[in-house]
Symmetry: C2
Subunit: 190 residues, 2 copies
DNA sequence: CTATTTCGCATACCGACGGTATGTCAATTG
DNA sequence: CAATTGACATACCGTCGGTATGCGAAATAG
């Protein structure tokens, strides 16, 4: 079938683009290199995507879905609401630190798509879980009742930055996980 | 004097580049437009800087210095150690939200220079104050004794993200300032 | 089983961009 | 005042993202 062939090309382009973007960054990778790695030509790329930014968007989407999946899985594996929340945060930290995701997700993402669009993706994936969790914890009396959005942004940013930092200081992993746990605990209602 | 002329050209290029980068982002502004706005040609630019990225580096440096100055001024205006810390954080939030700084500092900065180099700039300016403050608060017994670096990164990231978010939700300013204050207070030793 | 259409993709090409090599002229210096 | 420096302009190059067009195989109709 032709549709299968089309999908194969799409997936190959996304996979190779993701690999190269993760290694060297969006700006330093040309379409020629991506298409060559995927075994097609620029014509194929422009048949599948609206341009370089659109290809990046597709890559970012796959990254976001993976991260969101890890976060949700870790959170749901815990019975307790608070424990699930903490586990989700740690899972987010781990998933975002992964070198196949970090740069695409946290560095190039906002710059290429603009922060507003990047945030829309973030919201649809991992940040959605985070804000839902925050809201749930407030309802359960585990966090003080406040507007959820600002706290969610603060927490999201803290974890994003920590993930980037861990890339350059991998030995600080344990300390960082502890610091994150303590930060969350300090917010908890007693 | 010739040196004065050189400095004038440098400053004009930095000023115009900053304005344009802040408005439309690094990738969408060509050197032709920058040099035209500064009243010189590309030759002058390449005489002063090693390239587009080097010009951006100079721009980022000026932004960082401004932010660092605001943070330090706000912190030193308070007599109390903790109050100065909190004021510095709020000042950082305000200074980073400014549209002439936000995009350059928080979005394009990491993408253009790479996160590692961006962080070196951050460290030299505002993050230095932050980590010093955290260390001082631990010595004074106002924060639990822990490794300073992870907590500093978490706080820095939280404020960065909040600043970006405020750009799209300016009405949330008060809520966000409160949320930041409460976050800091919750960390404080009692 | 051919004729025709469809569509995934390759090829060839364009304008614009970042970057470089070279030229020029005023300010400095001895 | 001759020689030199250096701040800058001009002209040019290679490469990139993007577009227009054509081809050939698979799907579909008669």
């Amino acid at each position: 079938m032709r549709a299968e062939q089309k999908e194969r090309t799409r997936l190959a382009l996304i996979a190779e683009a993701r690999r190269l973007f993760a290694e060297r960054g969006y700006a330093d990778v040309g379409l020629t290199e991506i298409t060559a790695a995927a075994g097609v030509t620029k014509g194929a790329l422009y048949h599948q995507f609206d341009g370089k930014a659109a290809l990046f968007r597709a890559v970012l989407e796959s990254v976001h879905q993976e991260v969101g999946g890890h976060v949700a899985a870790a959170a749901e594996a815990e019975a307790d609401l608070w424990t699930g929340f903490a586990a989700g945060c740690q899972a987010f930290l781990t998933a975002s630190t992964d070198p196949t995701r970090r740069r695409i997700l946290l560095v190039d993402g906002p710059a290429v798509l603009g922060w507003a669009e990047w945030r829309a993706f973030d919201e649809a994936a991992s940040a959605f879980h985070l804000e839902e969790a925050v809201a749930g914890l407030m309802r359960a009396g585990l966090l003080p009742e406040r507007p959820t959005a600002p706290l969610t942004r603060l927490l999201s940013g803290a974890m994003n930055e920590a993930a980037l930092w861990l890339a350059s200081e991998p030995s600080a992993l344990d300390d960082t996980r502890r610091a994150l746990t303590e930060l969350l605990e300090s917010l908890r209602c007693r």
